[in-house]
């Protein structure tokens, strides 16, 4: 049953990475959208696209934290005592990002919006970087370890890749949003960026081959072994975005984006299994007593019954433009 809870935990990581990731990435484009005049329309789209959904997407993070500390308490404790610097910075980044976003919506003056927007957008870029470094430290078995466990080639790559992948995801999501709002200019604006971000992600992935090969040989061999189908799937989706991004229907593009990012995350999980931390703490060794694990499974089943249809309802209402961000 510890493996089941491990899968539940990792599902949370993937869903946060994809859906939460798209919200974070939107902050990247918000930051780089230019001055008040030039950036007005992309920012307006970003605001109306992620306004109704970001809080629900954010809950996946809480979900991951509580499942980790309940199901695998020793791993949680090891993670928190080793990586307290990036985790603490990520927590504060989340505060700045979300409150900045919520404040900007209710502020009217350009200067005020600029301050709130800068808090939102810059912390949207910085926070995923820290998450990426954390993933790198876990994947390379540096947890538990000293306070510098997140400063290493894999973490650095993970951080940059996390920012780039989120920017890519956000760009394909926003392309679809622009299409839904029948705005061809914005659609082009975002699809160009989606393709550029996909190229950057691909370049980072290639660099990652060399980094992982020397820095995390076990992970590398599993990523190229049993994780290979997922990595390949991700690569195909990424290449398709770059090659045919301007010809594909934006909804297809969005699926490609989810596949590209989701598959590589799943590949990481597959490569890491059955270990939770590096190669020294397995899921079963870190697991809580079985009654606790079953509680998590039951509650998760309850969540699947209650929350998933609700979440689908939210996305559907959002897609049908029943939720007017300017209301």
């Amino acid at each position: 049953v510890s493996s089941v809870v491990g899968v539940i935990l990792f599902a949370g990581v993937v869903l946060y990475g994809v859906f939460g990731g798209a919200d974070f990435g939107a902050g990247f484009w918000d930051l780089t959208a230019g001055g008040a005049g030039a950036g007005r329309r992309p920012r307006a789209l970003i605001q109306s696209a992620i306004g109704p959904v970001w809080e629900a997407n954010h809950v996946w993070l809480i979900f991951c934290l509580v499942v980790l500390w309940t199901g695998f308490p020793s791993a949680f404790s090891a993670l928190m005592t080793t990586l307290y610097i990036p985790l603490g910075l990520a927590a504060l980044g989340i505060v700045l990002r979300s409150s900045g976003f919520a404040f900007r919506k209710e502020l009217a003056g350009t200067e005020e919006q600029r301050v709130a927007g800068a808090a939102f957008a810059s912390s949207s870029v910085v926070t995923p970087f820290f998450f990426g470094t954390i993933a790198g430290a876990i994947a390379t078995g540096r947890v538990p370890g000293d306070a510098a466990a997140w400063v290493n080639p894999t973490s650095l790559l993970g951080g940059v890749l996390a920012v780039a992948a989120r920017a890519y995801l956000a760009a394909v999501f926003l392309t679809a949003e622009a299409r839904a709002r029948r705005d061809p200019d914005l659609e082009r604006w975002f699809v160009t960026r989606a393709r550029a971000a996909a190229v950057v992600c691909g370049g980072l992935a290639v660099a990652g081959i060399f980094v992982l090969n020397s820095d995390a040989p076990r992970l590398f061999s599993h990523l190229t072994g049993r994780g290979a189908p997922f990595v390949a799937l991700s690569a195909v989706a990424g290449v398709a975005t770059v090659v045919a991004g301007d010809r594909l229907d934006p909804r297809t593009l969005r699926v490609l984006g989810v596949v590209a990012v989701g598959a590589v995350l799943i590949g990481w999980g597959v490569a890491q299994y059955p270990f939770l931390l590096g190669t020294h703490l397995s899921l079963s060794a870190a697991a809580a007593p079985s009654a606790t694990l079953w509680s998590i499974v039951i509650v998760f089943a309850g969540a699947a019954v209650l929350c998933v249809p609700s979440l689908v309802a939210l996305y559907v209402l959002q897609q049908r433009e029943q939720l007017d961000a300017h209301a």
Binding site: G35, G37, G39, R40, A44, P52, E55, H58, V59, L61, I62, L65, V66, V67, T70, P73, S74, F76, S77, M80, T81, Y84, L87, A90, A91, L92, I94, V95, S99, A102, F103, R104, K105, E106, L107, A108, G117, A147, R181, R182, D183, A288, P289, A291, T292, S295, I296, V299, A303, C307, S310, L311, L314, L317, E321, L323, D324, A325, H326, A327
Partner: protein, 462 residues
């Protein structure tokens, strides 16, 4: 070496936890109970075609959106802090105390989903479906409160687990969730959320009326919020009174700190105020037999004193003063609020109108702040009253604290960011109010547009 790190991190870790939780707890009533006020206004709007009520509900939902966002992320920080500040609490007991948090996750999820549907659904959804999309928000707020308080009450009366060699080897999840302190602690917090939300919102409209805006919009906003608070306050007094007796029975060490009782005795006086110095509560107002009477309805009721608590698990004397005074502040503020509610109820019963006195409005205007003081004081009683334990009888707070890094830095950064976010929240709410006072137009322009920007993008026109 390790002990040194503990000693140096204990103070900042406790300060940071107190500060961030004290910040978050003010936002809780807005997520939990303010949404109920919003639905009351919404219901009235649909049922009676009441345009004032509709405008109130819509504006309240926008305020709720801002405060829910800040509450969601300040709650997230608390999740991080469970590990960043108290890793050894989670390492040892996460398998038990984590279960209520997992349940709370579902409620938080539902709340986040439906509050978004509700807030963004004003323009395009039909009135009744829109109203019903708000109902899960209120229910999830209740469920979330009951769950998260289960995690806290478990630390006061831990149970439902078997420990061997410092490791939890078996867990009984239902006993963890429905622990001894859960029933009254969770109801107490839930009612507190309704009281604080009611009085704070009523205070805003009372202030408006004092400044001469006594139109129907203001009166209705005041009445909906104040009525809810006025109904819940007497309930809370009854619950709180019963709860004190439960604490007397189940958590004698905390009760001894609350009453400042150094030695086990009968005929214990109730001391109002005072400070605990040299092992005695001094300078307070003593009501003979009061504590014994309140605890057991008889002057002969024996109250276990601090001397009955083993020395290594006994609350430090300076904290006895904190707990005792916090309890007094909580009770006194609660009765002040009860008096205000009674004034309102009496006049409403006789004349179907608000009390005409400006002193009533002045009192109502500050009642919100008073209720926040009461809430914070009650929370201090729970948390400080548990010291030196983090899990009573099982784990000392100083043994749970992190040994990594220097928490002062994290605390300093947190203080800076929270001060900025807290200040910005007030600023944004004031701007919203100013905008609403100045114009009937509730729409905001797009980001980075000038204040009077033309509507950008197709479909975005108000």
């Amino acid at each position: 070496m390790s002990y040194m790190a503990n000693a140096s991190n204990l103070l900042p870790a406790r300060e940071q936890m107190a500060f961030t939780l004290g910040f978050h707890i003010i936002l809780v009533p807005f997520g939990v109970a303010f949404t109920f006020l919003m639905l009351v206004a919404n219901y009235r709007a649909i049922r009676r075609g009441d345009e004032d009520a509709r405008r109130l509900a819509e504006r309240w939902s926008k305020v709720a959106a801002v405060l829910f966002a800040v509450g969601a992320v300040s709650g997230t920080v608390l999740s991080f802090e469970m590990g960043l500040l108290w890793p050894r609490l989670m390492d040892r007991y996460g398998a038990a105390s984590g279960i209520p948090f997992v349940v709370e996750g579902i409620f938080f999820f539902l709340e986040a989903i439906f509050i978004a549907i509700y807030i963004y659904g004003w323009k395009r959804m039909a009135p009744w479906p829109h109203f019903w999309s708000g109902v899960p928000v209120v229910l999830a707020g209740i469920g979330g409160t009951l769950s998260v308080v289960a995690a806290n009450s478990w630390m006061n009366q831990p149970g439902g687990f078997t420990e061997r060699n410092g490791k939890v080897v078996a867990v009984r999840p239902l006993r963890v969730f429905f622990n001894g302190a859960w029933g009254y602690e969770s109801v107490h917090m839930l009612l507190a959320a309704y009281i604080v939300a009611g009085f704070l919102v009523a205070g805003v409209y009372a202030t408006g009326m004092l400044r001469g805006r006594a139109d129907r919009h203001h009166r209705l906003g005041f009445l909906i919020a104040f009525t809810v608070a006025a109904v819940v306050t007497p309930l809370q007094i009854v619950v709180g009174d019963a709860m004190a007796r439960y604490v007397f029975h189940d958590e004698p060490a905390k009760f001894a700190a609350i009453e400042g009782v150094p030695e086990t005795a009968t005929h214990v006086p109730e001391t109002v105020g005072g400070v605990f110095v040299d092992g005695r509560l001094r300078y307070g107002l003593r009501l003979p037999n009061g504590a014994s009477l309140l605890a057991g309805f008889s002057p002969g009721t024996r109250i276990r004193g601090l001397d009955a608590v083993p020395a290594d698990g006994c609350i430090p004397p300076n904290l006895v003063t904190v707990v005792h005074l916090s309890f007094d502040v909580m009770v006194l503020t609660a009765f002040a609020l009860l008096a205000l509610a009674a004034w309102f109820a009496f006049v409403w019963w006789r004349r179907r109108a608000l009390p005409a006195s400006r002193w009533f409005l002045r009192a109502a205007a500050v009642a919100g702040v008073v209720s926040v003081v009461s809430l914070e004081a009650g929370w201090v009683v729970t948390e400080v009253g548990r010291q030196p334990w983090i899990v009573v009888g099982h784990l000392l707070t100083r043994d749970a604290v992190t040994t990594s890094g220097t928490v002062w830095w994290f605390f300093a950064a947190t203080l800076v960011i929270y001060t900025a976010v807290g200040g910005a929240t007030f600023y944004v709410l004031r701007r919203m109010r100013g905008r609403w006072a100045a114009t009937s137009d509730d729409t905001v322009t797009v980001p980075y547009g000038p204040a009077d920007a033309r509507p950008a993008l197709d479909g975005a026109a108000p």
